[in-house]
């Protein structure tokens, strides 16, 4: 009897573990779609300034946004300019964060070339020091997601704002998968 009861508790728990191990890490397009906006700067791994300005969301059955990032760790500074937005995702593990994926051009540093990018922006309240930003490029560039502030030698500045859902701004239907939106790019 005790063994039967144990199995009845254990099976659902095992089932929960099995089901959540995959989907829990999957990122998907928020429905209804919302917006994220922000600008600021972070300190790179070499102590350099990295400025960013970005916004993302959905619009007219597609994804919408712009991403611009400038890394002063290169001479001249390397800057990413988005040319298309291919994805806008939320991560169930970080409900205040959104990832913007797309294609862009990098200029400066090692010349000019096309890349795919994945940006993470996270709004953790005001005034913005706890907000987070990260960037992953298809050429291997990886700025792990980090806090914006406080301003100073160990932190940057700026602010990121996650806006509420807007059912009139729709993304693609059916929503593409994470790999279709951000092929080969994991969360920074």
């Amino acid at each position: 009897m005790r063994r039967t009861i144990y199995m009845l508790f254990a099976i659902p728990l095992m089932l929960v573990g099995t089901l959540t191990s995959g989907p829990a890490s999957a990122h998907f397009v928020p429905a209804p779609c919302d917006f994220i906006t922000g600008g600021g700067w972070v300190i790179g791994d070499s102590g350099q300034f990295i400025n960013f300005g970005a916004h993302g969301g959905c619009k007219n059955g597609a994804f919408w946004g712009h991403v611009n990032v400038l890394d002063h760790g290169y001479n001249p500074p390397a800057h990413l300019r988005s040319t298309s937005i291919t994805g806008y995702l939320m991560d169930p593990a970080f409900p205040n964060a959104r990832d913007i994926c797309g294609e862009g051009v990098v200029d400066g540093g090692a010349g000019s070339f096309t890349v795919r990018f994945r940006v993470r922006m996270e709004d953790n309240g005001e005034p913005g020091g706890s907000d987070r930003f990260g960037l992953h490029l298809s050429n291997g560039y990886d700025l792990t997601t980090r806090e914006l502030g406080p301003p100073g030698p160990n932190g940057g500045g700026g602010n990121i704002q996650l806006h509420k859902q807007n059912p009139s701004t729709t993304g693609p239907s059916p929503a593409p998968t994470e790999d279709q939106m951000c092929p080969g790019l994991s969360t920074p």
Binding site: G53, A54, H55, L70, T169
Partner: protein, 214 residues
């Protein structure tokens, strides 16, 4: 005894099922897709929405130049935005990571402009800032709200600390500077994070403009 045992097994089953549903994101997401739209979205209806954002707007000798201007919002289904990695107005200023966006809902409008590493010279006086952000939010039935973030500001080589209060005036060698300028109207608000005019009125520069009205 049998009846009590049956209830016990039913409770176990229900608890197990609820546990699965509560933590299975795929199920939750599928259900969310089927829910009716939340209030606060949809077409603009009878509300008149106005919104715009611009990273930089400068008037020099009557010539207007804008950098990263979103354009004018007219519909909740049509958010507008733009950005550029570098921007400059020769002889006046340069900036990085310029960004501007304006978005509408049936009941509100939000606009935001931002730029980094601003370097500007007006009437021979240098002005720099690491980050400038302006935000405007107009909500139907409520007072519009404005907000500016100005970090690392120097004017004439002297560090200036924004108070955060609206319309903070700073005067340096005849240069008129307003931080977090907020212009309220019956239907909305204009927020200019950094507004600089020279003593003789030949140069008028705003870094970070956000407008919202409904």
């Amino acid at each position: 005894m049998r009846s009590r045992e049956s209830s016990f097994w039913k409770s176990i089953g229900v608890a197990g099922a609820l546990a699965v549903l509560a933590v299975w994101p795929g199920f939750s997401r599928a259900q969310l897709d089927l829910l009716p739209p939340l209030p606060g979205g949809g077409s603009s209806g009878t509300q008149t929405l106005t919104g715009q954002a611009s990273a930089v707007t400068a008037v020099v000798l009557g010539t207007v130049t804008s950098l990263a201007d979103s354009g004018t919002l007219v519909d909740a289904a049509d958010p507008l935005g733009t950005g550029q990695p570098l921007g400059s107005i020769p002889g006046l200023l340069s900036a990085e990571a310029l960004n501007a966006a304006t978005m509408g809902w049936t009941d509100q409008v939000a606009s935001e402009a931002s730029l980094g590493n601003l370097s500007m010279t007006v009437a021979g006086i240098g002005i720099t800032a690491t980050t400038i952000i302006s935000r405007a939010l107009a909500v139907s039935g409520g007072a519009p709200v404005g907000l500016s973030n100005i970090e690392g500001l120097t004017i004439g080589g002297v560090s200036v600390s924004p108070t955060g209060l609206p319309n903070q005036a700073v005067s340096v060698a005849g240069l008129n500077v307003i931080l977090n300028e907020q212009i309220q109207s019956g239907s909305g608000i204009v927020v200019n994070a950094l507004h600089v005019t020279d003593p003789v009125g030949l140069v008028d520069v705003v870094a970070g403009t956000a407008k919202a009205g409904i």
